[in-house]
């Protein structure tokens, strides 16, 4: 496992995820240009993911951000984001705060988890068709954006167009 790097699994069908992943790809490099995180599209092959990590389920991988650690463990959601920030030279100076614990609570990690949950809910607003039906609090905002942009069809799909 020596020299192994965390693997960031991202949803290649989602604009927001693709952009974040490409930012990570650009930023997660040492001065010598060596990548500190490996980006990998989740893809469409459940067996290929299982080869990467036996417990990794493709449906779960698409549902939330997964970071496969070199020791085989998996970080999800806000925890994965914190770990990614710890591995990026530009952001690691503040990423230590996510580990700060006060009476057993990690306040900065909790804030990050909430931010991640909000961003994940908002992905359909940025045109991610594969991210499903927007959360209940997003629906009025989505309707408003559609109304402003002239698309008055407010029907919420129960299927994703191909």
């Amino acid at each position: 496992m020596r020299g192994a790097k965390p693997i960031l699994l991202f949803n290649d069908e989602c604009n927001v995820c693709r952009r974040i992943s490409s930012w990570v790809q650009k930023s997660a490099k040492t001065k010598s240009g060596e990548a500190t995180i490996i980006d990998r599209a989740i893809g469409e092959d459940p067996e290929a993911l299982k080869r990467l990590s036996p417990n990794l389920n493709i449906w779960d991988a698409y549902a939330t951000i997964h970071l496969l650690m070199p020791n085989g463990s998996m970080k999800l959601g806000g925890e994965a984001v914190a770990e990614v920030l710890r591995n990026i030279p530009k952001t690691k100076w503040f990423a230590w705060t996510f580990a700060v614990s006060i009476f057993g609570f990690r306040p900065f990690q909790i804030i990050l988890n909430i931010c991640y949950a909000i961003l994940a809910d908002m992905r359909p607003l940025f045109g991610c068709e594969s991210c499903g039906t927007p959360g209940f609090w997003i629906k009025p905002i989505r309707r408003m954006i559609k109304w402003i942009s002239g698309d008055r069809r407010t029907k919420l799909l129960s299927s994703s167009p191909l």
Binding site: E44, N55, L56, N57, Y62, A63, L76, E79, S159, S160
Partner: protein, 129 residues
């Protein structure tokens, strides 16, 4: 968080081990579905489609309930675009029902409940015994 992660991993593992739906591709589709005898349901889906993710456990449940009556297959539209075009699949998930190899019904974006899937699947096969 850690125990939640472990639990989720166990659930995922369990759900994968008990996969009641067989995947079909362009090489196996003819043999499994078009040459198949009796009622067959094919789910056109993709792993990146969250609606398909919601439907998945329901369909697994339906598949185990109907094991002896209706065979259920899945076709990934991301890798099997040709099949999706052939069967005019425009959105995922889409369920297409076949009876003795003949297309007898189609549902786009079914409500993800066991009862609605059972009803929707049974309708095209009504009268078949």
């Amino acid at each position: 968080m850690e125990s939640g992660t472990k639990l989720k991993a166990q659930q995922s593992l369990a759900s994968t081990q008990a996969d009641k739906i067989t995947s079909a591709d362009k090489n196996t589709f003819s043999h499994l579905v078009l040459d198949g005898k009796g009622p067959i349901a094919v789910e056109f889906m993709s792993y990146g489609c969250s609606h398909c993710g919601t439907l998945e456990p329901i369909l697994q449940q339906v598949a185990s309930m109907l094991e002896s009556k209706v065979k259920i297959f899945r076709v990934n539209t991301e890798t099997e675009k040709e099949l999706a075009t052939t069967f005019q699949v425009e959105a995922t998930p889409t369920l297409i029902m076949f009876l003795n190899g003949k297309n007898v019904g189609k549902i786009v974006g079914p409500t993800p409940t066991v009862s609605s899937i059972l009803t929707a699947m049974a309708q095209p096969f009504r009268g078949f015994s």
